[in-house]
Symmetry: C2
Subunit: 426 residues, 2 copies
Amino acid sequence: MAKPNAVYAQSGGVTSVINASAYGCIKAAMAADFIGDVLAGLDGINGVLEENLIDLSRENPADLEALRHTPAGAFGSCRKKLKDMEKDRAQFERILQVCEAHNIGYFFYDGGNDSMDTVDKLSRFARQEGSPLQVVGIPKTIDNDLPITDNSLGFASAAKYNTVSMMEGSLDVSSMFRDSTKVFILETMGRHAGWLAASTGLGRRTDQDGPHLILLPEVAFEKQNFLARVEETVGQLGYCAITVSEGTMDTRGKFLTESETTDSFGHAQLGGAGQYISELIKKDLGLKTHSAVLDYCQRSGRHVSSAVDVEQAMACGARAVALAAEGHSGVMVTIVRESSSPYRWSLGFTDAGNIANKEKKMPREFISGDGFHITDKFREYCLPLIQGEDYPPYENGLPAYRRLKKNLRPVKLPPLGAGSGAGKQS
Amino acid sequence: MAKPNAVYAQSGGVTSVINASAYGCIKAAMAADFIGDVLAGLDGINGVLEENLIDLSRENPADLEALRHTPAGAFGSCRKKLKDMEKDRAQFERILQVCEAHNIGYFFYDGGNDSMDTVDKLSRFARQEGSPLQVVGIPKTIDNDLPITDNSLGFASAAKYNTVSMMEGSLDVSSMFRDSTKVFILETMGRHAGWLAASTGLGRRTDQDGPHLILLPEVAFEKQNFLARVEETVGQLGYCAITVSEGTMDTRGKFLTESETTDSFGHAQLGGAGQYISELIKKDLGLKTHSAVLDYCQRSGRHVSSAVDVEQAMACGARAVALAAEGHSGVMVTIVRESSSPYRWSLGFTDAGNIANKEKKMPREFISGDGFHITDKFREYCLPLIQGEDYPPYENGLPAYRRLKKNLRPVKLPPLGAGSGAGKQS
């Protein structure tokens, strides 16, 4: 029988280095003598369910090389979560059917907490059904909230981007406050954990530098206390720069601006925390404000990525293949910190079930006593991760990002839903 | 008598290269044998009015060198505009008194349309009063709306930043649209002219790349026409990326943000043009959107500046000193395009009165027939300006931006308002 094929797929919010993980994984899989063809799922697990399998042998080699420096999800990502193994049995069966039809023995899934739930469930279902399919996860999320792994891929680059943005915005407001804006606000992503917001504190070297205040999801927002600190800072310096995480909550545990919509994972769709803070300061303190919402730009800002992040992303992608070679399934690659100074790391792994649906918040020792700043312990943790500048190549003044052709392999099964019994995508 | 001293000052919204102009000007002034001490005004013209003159000889030389790569206004900027020469005579007299007290013979003012009004008026007042003071302007504004000069300093870097941001945000939405956000919106600065919004079109190389639609202040916003184009794009590609200038106006000539609308939850509309477009698409098309507002980050984003911009900024600063040496006053340095391909430029000058209070909008030939795109003529104009990457040096993972000490020269006059007759700052 032919050597089993491998499929790589991307899931959840993309990052500036998720394609660098893809590059590491695909390159290792192509080089591995135990793997046949290397495929990719179009739009994550959807690609497997729907038999939309990208034939990587038909891509231009230069385009595959460009994965190393091209941000966002080159193969398409998804927000699809597999439900209960027994209730949603048809979906799991369909995945195994597609894998069997295409002789897929290895599934590498690049994602965060929800995606590791898929790794966990699918590997257990395969084992239970006697399928040889091995499933290995790669730890991706800019939110850095995966437990066990020391950091998650994409976080360091987003942290670097956000920190540089705060440094620049803070220099801006400090040169304009005399006749103009007094308060600059930067809203960061981070739904439940403050890692990204906290990282903006790394660029603060003197009292003049922002952020003067950081609002974290881990610390309940008290309006009067916060406004007093803004007023105090403006009194001392003439201006104030503030970072606010989109996940910041009030003392009742409500997001600063809770929207009524949810994403397909059932999470509240956020955004607007910066605007909330801006309006509050304008109204209560009568100060002119400006606020920036970097939104997707922070997670796809490959032009200012951390070299450590890019290196780890490629290494984790390659390690997923090595774990498969060793017979592992239902596991996720982890980054292990050997020492902070000098920074030394290695790779390990853990059961995906240890990661699935769990969130690692900022530990209290990383947050200053007043709740508005980071501590030296956090600096010791975070600074090593943002080291080094891995610039993309430029052509004609702009980054040489590339798109793949994404040619699909011929289908071998009836379409999803045509007798397979698999449900429609939720 | 001692050689006359020179003062450099910054005015209006700052840029990522205004300090590079300062660097060019200060370095040339320090090297010029006809200039004595080189000073800087604290917070623009305010520094001269209030006799807050920064003594540059007391700065750390390495900090002065770092001006080349540090964004925002190192000396403080201002939004102060001198009023009518006769009605506001006291302010003009005060400036000449301060200049006389400190033997200032040269005033270099780095700013935009309003600042060139100051250059024009102050030079005429000095001439009229028999003062030897020479006033020379340096063309700065990210908005690129100064007439006569081919481009203005800071625009190219902001254009590069915005274009890269659109490329990255557009790759992001194109990898996530399947289960998630369908429309990505990027709001750019540019209150009266669309240069910055238009520049984001430079990164679009295929139909898949954003921006699919660009909303410019020069083209009246027609809601139904716009929504039809969004729907069409989402129908074809599954997603749509949109750039909206903060200065976009409706058919009645009102800014989008002045439109009386409510958001999709019936709340009164707050925020900017990006949010307006976002809510409109959510409400009328029922599509999930994400929007980024780069705000100050786009004008101080020195980490991704154009090498051409940095080079021109330093050259214009130095040329201002050369113009003073040639006896000019009341003029502004201009950038002259000699050819587009290959790009060749030289420096010229014009009367500041030709620039003051005028705005150069995008010519119609730079905008596509349907009003939603740029033309090849615009590409020919803009692409040469964003060439080359002039990265700042990094230390410990972050840009080595520096702040000056800003030690002030001892005052020689009674304070402003203490008998000088000068009015309070408006």
